[in-house]
């Protein structure tokens, strides 16, 4: 490890800390969201430095990309008072820039004693964490076991082998968590569907031209990433988020997608990955093997099938997050909140 490497690592770490600090201390929520996206992208750089390119791809696509889009979309909602029902004009230009999104006061503690105690507690926690890392035995973890069984896993890339074969259980339940989060969002928002938002600023012709050209390329890239997962960094998550990005861009360009697709297809898409895992798990059980244990001669093909199903499901779910949240505020006119009393007025 050369000095230049060390300097680069230190610069990346300092950048991470400064961005995290600025994210949390910014007075305007918009600044916070933008700093957070920058933080996610710098984090991706840190993952590359730590020899974890798979994690870097996932962080850039999901952590910075998808969550960034959701955050910025939420800003739009928080930027205008919630009374934007039938009576008031939701698209008044000045209502976008009012300071509802500004934190009214910087975070502060009640007394100096409290802030000193909290600071000391935080520093102590940091010390304990770093000290614990320093004292851990240096055994190499499960690297040796993974390397030993890699030839029987059906793939050549160790991270994919762990994700889809050795710990397929985790990935199965993770697709389940995505599905549960989707259900939670449905429950939190009420049944309003995926109808398109009325965009006050239509994006102009260029974006829809670009996305019409790029959508096939992006879908092809997703398939390539999926295939690549067998031997190099890539795989179901990255491919799935790329598919979701196609949907999000199409929606932003004003090309309707979710309300053209029949409901059955949406339901099928949301549950496809979870179901495919389950089917292969049950087949393994029926063949007197452990749950989700693949026969080693077929493992590569089974993994590719399961990954493809998971990618489609992840793409559908991630896009549904955005499409559902994005379309919800349009529905302030429907019955689910209209009759309820407003207690406080945030614009005061």
């Amino acid at each position: 490890m050369t000095l230049l490497d060390q300097v680069f690592d230190i610069v990346v770490c300092l950048l991470l800390l400064v961005l995290a600090w600025r994210t949390l201390s910014a007075t305007h929520l918009y600044q916070s969201a933008i700093f957070f996206i920058a933080f996610g992208l710098t984090m991706a750089l840190a993952w590359v430095r730590l020899a974890a390119p798979d994690v870097a791809l996932a962080e850039a696509a999901i952590g910075a990309g998808l969550l960034g889009v959701l955050l910025v979309d939420s800003l739009r909602v928080f930027a205008r008072p919630p009374e934007t029902g039938r009576d008031s004009e939701p698209n008044k230009p000045e209502s976008r820039d009012n300071d509802v999104t500004t934190s009214r006061r910087r975070p502060q503690f009640n007394s100096a004693v409290a802030s000193v105690t909290a600071g000391a507690g935080c520093l102590f926690l940091a010390y304990v964490l770093v000290a614990a890392i320093h004292d851990l035995p240096d055994g190499g973890g499960l690297t040796a076991q993974a390397a030993e069984n890699l030839s029987r896993s059906g793939v050549e890339h160790p991270v994919t082998a762990v994700l889809l074969n050795f710990r397929g259980f985790d990935t199965w339940l993770e697709v389940g968590v995505l599905f549960l989060a989707m259900l939670g969002i449905f429950c939190a928002g009420g049944l309003v569907g995926f109808s398109e938002t009325e965009n006050p600023d239509p994006p102009g012709p260029l974006l829809s031209w670009l996305i019409r050209g790029l959508a096939p390329v992006m879908i092809l890239t997703a398939a390539y990433l999926l295939w690549l997962g067998k031997l190099a960094p890539g795989g179901a998550f990255q491919a799935g988020i790329l598919l979701a990005a196609v949907g999000i861009l199409l929606r932003l360009a004003g090309i309707p997608l979710m309300d053209r697709v029949p409901r059955t297809v949406i339901k099928l898409g949301l549950t496809f990955g979870f179901g495919t895992f389950l089917v292969f798990g049950i087949i393994a059980l029926l063949a007197d093997k452990a749950f989700l244990e693949y026969p080693s001669e077929w493992a590569g093909e089974v993994i590719l099938l399961v990954e493809a199903a998971a990618a489609i499901s992840i793409g559908f779910t991630a896009f549904a997050f955005f499409a559902y949240l994005n379309s919800r505020d349009q529905s302030t006119g429907n019955g689910d909140t209209a009759g309820q009393p407003r207690e406080t007025n945030p614009s005061q």
């Binding site: 230190i10 770490c13 949390l24 993952w47 430095r49 909290a118 770093v130 690297t143 939670g184 945030p346």
Partner: protein, 104 residues
């Protein structure tokens, strides 16, 4: 002195400080969105700690198990954040509140 510090130690130290920043932000920031972002920074610091641990000894490849765990973790963290965003937006829509404080 500086030559003895390994790359993973630098990142582990950063993860420690990031953890504190995230924790402090979670308690001190008022607005829901900021609390969600702080939670995300908190989670990211734990992921950073895990991966820097996996990088301690370079054998044939870095330990793939923490990497896989972190990829899974990132997806789960983002789904949880999306759910939290949906809840925060519902609270905003229903009551006009954007913090947990009594007098916003």
């Amino acid at each position: 002195m500086i030559a003895e510090i390994e790359s993973h130690q630098i990142y582990a130290g950063t993860a420690g400080i990031l953890f504190c920043l995230g924790l402090a932000g979670l308690f001190m920031c008022g607005h829901f969105l900021k609390k969600i972002i702080a939670t995300k920074i908190l989670g990211t610091s734990v992921f950073l700690l895990l991966v820097s641990l996996a990088n301690r000894n370079q054998m044939e490849f870095a330990d793939p198990v923490p990497h896989a765990m972190v990829i899974t973790g990132i997806v789960v963290a983002v789904s949880a954040s999306a759910f939290a965003l949906a809840l925060a937006r519902r609270i905003w829509k229903e009551t006009g509140r954007s913090t947990f404080e009594d007098n916003p």
